[in-house]
């Protein structure tokens, strides 16, 4: 599954891990994250993420 990188701080969202701290189950694709999900490292919104090359 496609990983996404936060352009602000470099955090990588890995869909295989999800973001369990805020209830995002492993296996959740980036596209299915809720609109108000933010980078766990720096708080950047979803539109500040880019597909990992």
């Amino acid at each position: 599954m496609q990983r996404y990188v936060c352009i602000v701080c470099g955090y990588i969202y890995d869909p295989e891990i999800g973001d369990p701290d805020v209830g995002i189950e492993p296996g959740t694709p980036f596209e299915e994250l809720p609109d108000d999900w933010v980078c766990p490292e720096c708080g950047a919104a979803k539109d500040l993420f880019e597909k990992e090359a």
Binding site: I7, A44, L48
Partner: protein
């Protein structure tokens, strides 16, 4: 230095730093700057919106004294950076009853950066309000309009948006309002280019939020206040838009004239093809000017001699800045000369990881560029022209 009135009961009480010439030890300030702090005297509560750089603490305190302020109920911290929050400790010392109003994220930063006692901070939530009696202040979170904790404060009855760094300019002026407009807007553009450009998607979102407010005046934390808001807002919309122009910015250094000769040929051939060119000789260049030139060109050309096995350090420095600013460039090329061999192209390419450019074939000349090398430059200009045409940038 002086207390000035924006609207009845709303005052500018900050400091003008006429002679500061460098910010963050990086960014030249040709027009100095100001650290704006605003005092709002409500019928029941008195509020200070942001403070000043700690080096100017005495000015803020003296202005408050001149304004006859005996009591401040709240300081609103829109942003934790020291040029706005650095005098909060000084205010707390002189006005011990004051409470700091800010968001959770900023609260932590105020503790970390300024050692403010957490018990002096009241945290507020996005779009929450406080009443000053005859006035209502609304807090609008604006994360990554520069920093993760940045926010705006909106005075509903005054219709003033206190936008902190957003829409600000490094511009020292004795005038409270933006009346020397060409210079002020140039300063605002420079300010956007230097610190806001990486966050243009976030800014776009917040421009939409501002559209939903009835704003008559924008009072940023650097530079003059905008009495007329549409001009600066529409300029900002243009800066953050996805559109690029039929322009090439060329950054270069030349040691013995070889790279310079290639750059000169490229400038000439691009102009002949109807493409705007902005060359920057990096020796002694103003990095703010470079940042401005990156706002809307489609293409960047990086031109460097090879020093030992890599790029000239001035070029490496500029490329690292370009990479950090994340301009909306689409195409890129590396050209230059070398004495024997080296890894200049690989090195520069690796430094541009965040730019996602469609790269042209590099043009490298061994020693002084000969006719074949210059023809390769002409070919590069043709390719740039073709890409700009394909992208619909040339009619």
């Amino acid at each position: 230095m002086a207390v000035r009135e924006l609207k009845p009961g709303v005052y500018s009480v900050g400091a003008i730093d006429w002679h500061r010439r460098l910010f963050d030890e990086l960014i030249p300030l040709p027009h100095g700057t100001s650290y704006n702090s605003y005092l709002i005297k409500g019928s029941e509560k008195t509020v200070l919106v942001d403070t000043v750089d700690p080096s100017r603490e005495h000015e803020l305190l003296s202005n408050l004294q001149k304004a006859g302020v005996n009591r401040i109920d709240y300081i609103v911290a829109n942003h934790a950076e020291q040029d706005h929050s650095g005098t909060i400790p000084g205010i707390l010392r002189v006005y011990p009853d004051v409470m700091v109003l800010t968001n959770q994220k900023c609260s932590g930063m105020l503790v970390d950066h300024l050692g403010i006692n957490e018990e002096k901070v009241l945290t507020i939530t996005d779009r929450s309000t406080i009443s000053l009696g005859d006035r209502t202040l609304e807090f609008i979170f604006a994360p990554w309009v520069h920093w993760p904790e940045t926010m705006f404060t909106y005075s509903r009855e005054d219709k003033i948006l206190f936008s902190c760094d957003f829409l600000g300019s490094h511009f020292a002026s004795s005038s409270l309002f933006a009346n020397n407009e060409a210079k002020v807007y140039e300063g605002a553009k420079r300010y956007y280019a230097e610190i806001m450009m990486p966050f243009r998607k976030s800014i776009n979102r917040h421009l939409e939020i501002i559209k939903g407010l009835d704003v008559e005046m924008i009072a940023p934390s650097h530079g003059p206040v905008y009495e007329e808001t549409e001009t600066i807002l529409s300029m900002c919309r243009e800066w953050v838009s996805d559109s690029v122009n039929n322009k090439v910015v060329i950054i270069y250094v030349s040691m013995h004239g070889s790279t310079e000769k290639m750059v000169s040929r490229l400038i000439e051939t691009l102009i002949e093809r109807g493409i705007s060119v902005r060359p920057f000789n990096l020796t002694g260049a103003d990095m703010g000017e470079l940042a401005i030139s990156l706002i809307d060109p489609a293409t960047i050309v990086i031109a460097s001699p090879t020093v030992l096995a890599g790029a000239h350090p001035e070029v490496a420095y500029a490329v690292s800045l370009v990479n950090a600013l994340r301009p909306k460039l689409k195409f890129g090329a590396i050209i230059g000369s070398y004495g024997w061999a080296g890894k200049m192209v690989e090195q520069i390419t690796a430094m541009m990881s965040s730019l996602k450019l469609d790269m042209f074939e590099p043009v490298l000349a061994k020693g002084h560029p000969g006719e074949t090398d210059l023809q390769a430059i002409d070919h590069l200009a043709d390719e740039i022209l073709q890409k700009h045409r394909d992208a619909g940038l040339i009619k």
